[in-house]
Amino acid sequence: MSAPQDLPRWADIGLIPLLNVFAALLVSGIVVAIIGENPFDAMMVMLKGAFIYKGSLGYTLYYATNFIFTGLAVAVAFHALLFNIGGEGQAYLGGLGAGIVCLLFDSMLPALIMVPLAILASAGFGAIWGAIPGYLQAKRGSHIVITTIMFNFLAASIMVWLLAGSLKAPGQMSPETRSFTRSAELPFIHDIANSIGLEMARSPLNLSFVIALLACVGVWVLIWRSRLGYAIRTTGHSAGAAEYAGIPVSRVIIITMAISGGLAGMMAINEILGVQHRTILGFTSGYGFTGIAVALMGRNHPIGIVLASLLFGALYQGGAELDFEFSTINREMVLLIQGLIILFSGGLAYMFNRPLARLLGLWLNPGKNIPTTGAENG
């Protein structure tokens, strides 16, 4: 009775997320109408702001890069039935890792060594920050949701302490490190395009986007093609079967959380190595949390996550445009639309399953009588 209705795979993967987004936009449209603006105009501004205006696509993809990393992080953990709410803190610590190696070595190492080293450091620091809650869950039974949330706060405190203290650039007031040298920078895509003669507007989009796409392939291979991924999925689907098969469940949990944390940590390469070129306070600005919604919406599959990341990237970028264009619509309005999308594609993700299944049932096999009322009464 309570089991979700069976839907054809294509409808479950393709149609349901679209319906959810549509419902969210519909409600957003109503809100926009209530405050006295034309929802269709607003929609057009958002679309143009996200994709059409000069450089806007670059911004959208730049935001999407962050969401891909944090979304993948949540998805990997979820395959082992672990809710990693700590993407924010893991990404933050990733920024610390990248920052430390850059501060230490950027004046002596060439970019070809410096950048990979910084990437490894960001993934490594994130991995440690994910593995500790993993260890606590596996060996001590502390719930992963609670510990990862707490680790977000720990990460924030550590970063404030370090960035306002020992890592702060000497002789400076703001809580951030000194700028790194050129050898610690990931090149901007527009620079690469321009150097090979393609005209491209300036945007913060950098090589991290390509790394994010490679990470998608990596995650797909890990989860569906590797032995470790098999163990991760077995642990997630059936603890009894994992136990029976002799899969070391505790170890799998710790390793999964390390991989998850590492992916979240790599979000820092987009912000720190790609754009800021120094470690600053609060550069994660909620991307880690939005990653949860991205993974939910993308059904924990890399392709879905890329699509969902594009959507959220477009919302961020187009939303900024809305704020700029309409005096009545501000940043909070954009947050509301994001919130509605998260609500409809996360919290209410299965709302349309049953009606849709019934509809498709009627449509695909009109002859067959679909039981609409269960035998409720004895």
Binding site: W224, R225, S226, R227, L228, G229, Y230, R233, T234, H237, S238, G240, A241, E243, Y244, A245, G246, I247, P248, A375, E376, N377, G378
Partner: protein, 546 residues
């Protein structure tokens, strides 16, 4: 055959019920509970099929059956947790639709669950009045409730200190609080679901005293259990369930534990198995005084010793829940024994030297688990993926560190042909195969490892007759090839068709051993009921071990 059997019993029972109503002092009491043709399905599983039941007022009525026989579903329907798909319920002679637990409570039905529904940090009084405060002021309510509770305690001999915190009470007293809760709500029909599972023998005795007291006050008790001893000790009438059906209604004093055991386990058409005499080889498995204590301190296995040789099938018979599952878990490395040890070849496993399933697999132990959905396969996985579950050696079974779908599919497909698994589609989700084919997936996987020792639990549970024959043949072939097989089954026929030697388990102990040719259902039934072990004077060949 089974159907005919049932009808006779039901007819006899209703006659008896009729006569007893007339004879009870001229006053005709209506039946406390009458269930008519109750049906309940969960998806394709028919948990209850055409169940009819009559429970006489002021009687203690037992429902006995194995785990999964449908007892819990039935009482859940009676208590309003589930609604039946069809059928009707009469309480005290009145047609009473029960749609919710509130309906059940207002009709005087109360239930004591196997796992107590108490607030641990509340006092006894607070627990009892919870939900029935009847006043905005808790002070006022507790004065009324305290008086009422005192009255109930006196009337029924249920002494509990109302101001004790529940979590500080022993389990037996907590159960008493549960019973008081029911009585406090005006319950006159008390359902107890496996009440003695958590109790010590002394506490069980006290519970039975309480139940007898309740009966003398006119309370009707419905006792759900799978323990024969309890049925015999306390009930007036007993109904037997098996496979979702009611198979017999009996008066307790006219039946015997052996008969009930047989009814519970069932009688199946003997399958023709080409069973040639075994040629036992070297000893593969030696179990020495193995014990296992559960987390709640209950002994699950006590002092189990056995030997298993290459080329023989040893069957373990017993009513389910008597330690067989735990024995399989220990021998396959999933659980570590508390005491004792077992040796597989040269490898010794004990509490000091624990092992794990992959290590044991590496030394040639294969395991067909009792519950294929929980352990044997992973339902959302493709058949090919389930086919490599537990294959621990990276260089084996096409499973390296890299899982190549082509290789997995090819390996799976060849096993699917060898074991006639239908449909032969390696990409189909494991959940979409029928029970028999799922079981064949597990069996194919385990047999293909060419094990020295095969542990098999309930190999044909929920499997159709064609697959059963196939599975039996495979097991015999494997035995003839020199594998040692330990077979746990609650199907007596299965044990008798396949085993070369039969061990019987009761209450976590091995209570007897029979050679294949000496075993018959009656003897096995007695031993399974735990009777032979205690009355061995006139049957010296039984229960030699204890």
């Amino acid at each position: 055959m089974r159907v005919a059997h049932t009808k006779v019993n039901v007819a006899r029972n209703s006659e008896m019920a009729h006569s007893s109503i007339i004879s009870s002092g001229g006053e005709t009491l209506p039946l406390a509970i009458e269930l008519l043709n109750i049906n309940k399905s969960f998806g394709d599983v028919r948990a209850n099929r055409d169940i009819s039941l009559e429970v006489k007022s002021g009687h203690i009525h037992g429902i006995i059956g194995e785990n999964g026989a449908g007892k819990s579903t039935l009482v859940s329907i009676l208590y309003g947790f589930y609604s039946a798909d069809s059928g009707s319920i009469k309480i005290n002679g009145q047609d009473t639709p029960i749609r919710s637990t509130a309906d059940a409570i207002s009709n005087g039905i109360g239930m004591v669950h196997q796992h107590f529904m108490l607030v641990p940090n509340f006092t006894v009084l607070e627990n009892v009045m919870l939900g029935h405060e009847g006043s905005l002021s808790i002070e006022m309510a507790s004065i009324v409730a305290r008086a009422e509770l005192q009255k109930l305690s006196d009337n029924f001999g249920l002494a509990v200190d109302p101001d004790m915190i529940v979590e500080n009470l022993p389990v037996g007293l907590q159960q008493r609080v549960e019973i008081l809760k029911v009585l406090f709500r005006g319950g006159r029909i008390l359902i107890l679901d496996e009440p003695t599972g958590v109790l010590t023998p002394q506490e069980t005795e006290q519970l039975f005293d309480i139940l007898r007291g309740l009966r003398s006050e006119g309370v009707t008790v419905l006792l759900i259990t799978h323990k024969l001893k309890e049925i015999m000790a306390i009930t007036d009438d007993v109904s037997v369930m098996r496979g979702g059906q009611m198979v017999a209604h009996q008066q307790t004093k006219t039946t015997s534990p052996a008969e009930l055991a047989q009814l519970m386990v069932g009688r199946k058409v003997l399958l023709e198995v080409d069973h040639t005499p075994a040629q036992p080889g070297v000893t593969v498995l030696t179990v020495k005084q193995l014990s296992l204590i559960g987390i709640d301190g209950v002994a699950l296995l006590s002092d189990v010793s056995l030997n298993l040789n290459a080329g023989e099938i040893v069957g373990i018979a017993g009513v389910s829940g008597n330690g067989q599952s735990e024995l399989l878990d220990v021998l396959s490395g999933i659980t570590t024994p508390t005491q004792g040890e077992f040796c597989i070849g040269q490898i010794r496993i004990s509490a000091d030297q624990p092992s794990n399933p992959s290590k044991l697999r590496d030394i040639g132990v294969a395991h067909v688990p009792e519950d294929r959905h929980k352990r044997g396969i992973v339902l959302p996985f493709s058949a090919a993926e389930s086919m490599v579950l537990g294959c621990s050696k990276p260089d084996k079974e096409n499973v390296g560190w890299w899982l190549s779908p082509a290789k997995l599919d090819a390996g799976c497909l060849s096993l699917m042909h060898d074991f006639d698994i239908r449909p032969p589609d390696p990409r189909l989700a494991s959940a979409n195969f029928s029970g028999g084919n799922q079981q064949k997936i597990v069996l194919a996987r385990e047999i293909s490892t060419e094990p020295k020792l095969l542990l098999v639990g309930q190999p044909t549970r929920g499997v159709d007759i064609g697959a059963i024959e196939f599975i039996y043949k495979q097991l015999i072939m494997l035995r003839n090839a020199g594998c040692a097989i330990l077979l746990v089954s609650v199907e007596l026929e299965e044990i008798m068709s396949l085993s070369d030697r039969i061990l019987v388990m009761n209450n976590g102990r091995i209570v007897g051993e029979l050679a294949r040719d000496d075993a018959d259902e009656k003897q096995l039934g007695l031993m399974m009921a735990g009777i032979a072990a205690y009355e061995s004077s006139d049957k010296p060949e039984l229960g030699a071990k204890h």
